[in-house]
Amino acid sequence: MNAAAWTCLALPLASALAITACGTSLSRRAAGYVSTATAFGSFGAALAAFALMLGKTPGERAQATTSWTWLSAGRYSFGLTLLTDQLSVLMMLIVAGVGSLIVAYSIGYMDGEDEERRYFAYMSLFLFSMLLLVQGGNLLLLLAGWGMVGLSSYLLIGFHQERPAAVAAAKKAFVMNAFGDATMALALFLLVQQTGRLDYGGVFAAAPHGGAVANLVALGLLGGAVAKSAQIPLHTWLPDAMEGPTPVSALIHAATMVTAGVYLIARTHPLFENAYVVEDLAAGLGAATLLAAGLIALVQVDIKRVIAYSTMSQIGYMFVGAAGGAYPSGMFHLMTHAFFKALLFLAAGIAIHALAGEQDLRRMTGLGRTMPHTSRAFLVGCLALVGIPPFAGFFSKDAILAAVLDRGAFGWVLFACGLAGTFLTGLYTFRLYFVVFGRTGAARPHLHGTREGPVSMVSTVTVLAALSAAGGFLQLAPVWTPLTTWLTPAAEPFAEASSWEEALASAAAVALGAAGIYAAYAAYVARTLRIPAAWPALERKLYWDELYDVLFYRPADLAARALRRFFEQPVVAGSIGEVGRGFRLGAGEVSRVQSGLVRAYVLALAGGLAVLAVVFLSTR
């Protein structure tokens, strides 16, 4: 099992190194095949680890393996440890599984791009970083993986480095993620100070219960989770990150990296349980994000941005679930979301690819006739996203909604937000579907050869569609709960929904989701519902970018200008000029001593010697 875990982690790294080292001696296509083969190999290793784990009793399934001591300072030492337990194996399967499908899809999508090798090297690097994040056996390795996925995300968002918008988006994503990394590092400092160790078991056993320190630790971890998962208030980077190639958006900004925050909460749940206030804050942020993102998604006109806001909204659900104590439900939604959101992005990618890069909804209409297969796959993704039974989203989202009812009055507030979010999900998702695939307008001529793209793209979309359609049957709470049983030893939920809560949540969520779909139908197909003029605040994305502009950019800019004007120019630049002038003056004076009169030099020498002789003789 340990060997399988190491293989799973090492293969993508080997691929990234190999592609980088081989350079142009590896053909572009071969780089894609190497990257895909290692990703599938990694998935195979994850499956092997899973199979071996199935053969053990639940108590023996968690295993840590240390290869060597990574860092050692004074009394502290941190090993390069991999922890393979139920939670990390689930994440390994999701990351390597969805990741390998998306890398395979990239072979078709990136065909003919410049610098395909660089792309595939980055993709492999990302897979390695993400696997390090989920497999790391202590918080320090988790943080290392955390920072490295931020780096890979930066590299991939800015892949089209000739486009200024892509570079700006990459920078924005990196800065916001770095903020999260910093708060997380602070939390780790506190933990080291309090407990002297960072391995999961030891930290959880020794961490302080309640009080300011526990709250600060949880708050720091939450800061990291919020930044990585694009939750309010650190969410503005995710929509801009859509500047990257579409498979990148699918892999990093939908299926895996952005869900790392949910994994973090599930992984460090004892620390969050020690700080109830922060846990409630996380759930509240999730609820706020799912509503705000759902509202903004209604008016966006870029197909990828709509899906990006939908991602934020769905991660909001996961936060509500995970912070509400229903860790298995949060992880379950993470898994189904990885399936259907990757599907939506990849299907949208086929449409974008066919239209030679067109992403504006208003100019991509009537694709249902010309690409029926993609259209069907997209419909499956939409239904799964809205949560219509029997598609995957139904099972996972309703489990979250039911579980929060366990939390008393605050739970009802979260529940209400979640239900409102369901209606919004139905509305914005099917707006997208009806506008892009439904309407019978004339599609623009295809610029690429085949009708729906190469085999590598169509086949991966088909696999993901099958997973989105059937993936939900893994768990039907409260009747059939293998996932909860599986995850309980690693993250025991403290919120369990009763049967009537499940029934209520399911009925209400499905009804509201269907209502949302109907509203979209009425507004965009039947035209019986007049579309209200888009609220300007929504079109400006609720003014978050403007708020950050006023709060951070402008004051920093002003301060920098003032410093330059009142400090740098007079003091720094001025002082340098003065110092130079002083030296030149002094040198001029000193050079007059050098008269060229040899006898004067000798006199100085003799006089100096005489003085020295007197001094030495008198002080003997």
Binding site: S591, Q594, S595, G596, L597, V598, R599, V602, L603, A606
Partner: protein, 102 residues
């Protein structure tokens, strides 16, 4: 022990050294200055040999021979320069030879 005390030799060495130093300081002809430098060197040599005698070591005498060798080569170079200057009709006055001043 024959002859005068070693102290007298040291006094003579000091006199020779001071004479040479005064010559370097007050005279302006490079030829005389070179000569005075030689006197200073010989004063030092005398002191070295006196101490060698006093302490019963040969080290001082070895040093004195080395100094003589250096002084000889110095005189060769110095005199060569002075002769060259005389041939070019340069006025032999160190106070006037100031062109190498930086």
């Amino acid at each position: 022990m024959h002859g005068p005390d070693v102290g007298w030799y040291l006094v003579l060495a000091a006199l020779l050294f001071v004479t040479g130093a005064l010559g370097v300081l007050v005279r302006r002809s490079p030829l005389i200055i070179l000569l005075s430098v030689e006197i200073m060197l010989n004063g030092a040599n005398l002191a070295l040999i006196s101490f060698a005698r006093r302490l019963g070591h040969a080290d001082g005498q070895v040093f004195a021979i080395a100094v003589m060798a250096v002084a000889a080569s110095e005189v060769v170079v110095g005199l060569g320069l002075i002769v060259a200057m005389g041939r070019r009709n340069v006025e032999l006055d160190v106070d006037k030879l100031r062109t190498l001043r930086g």
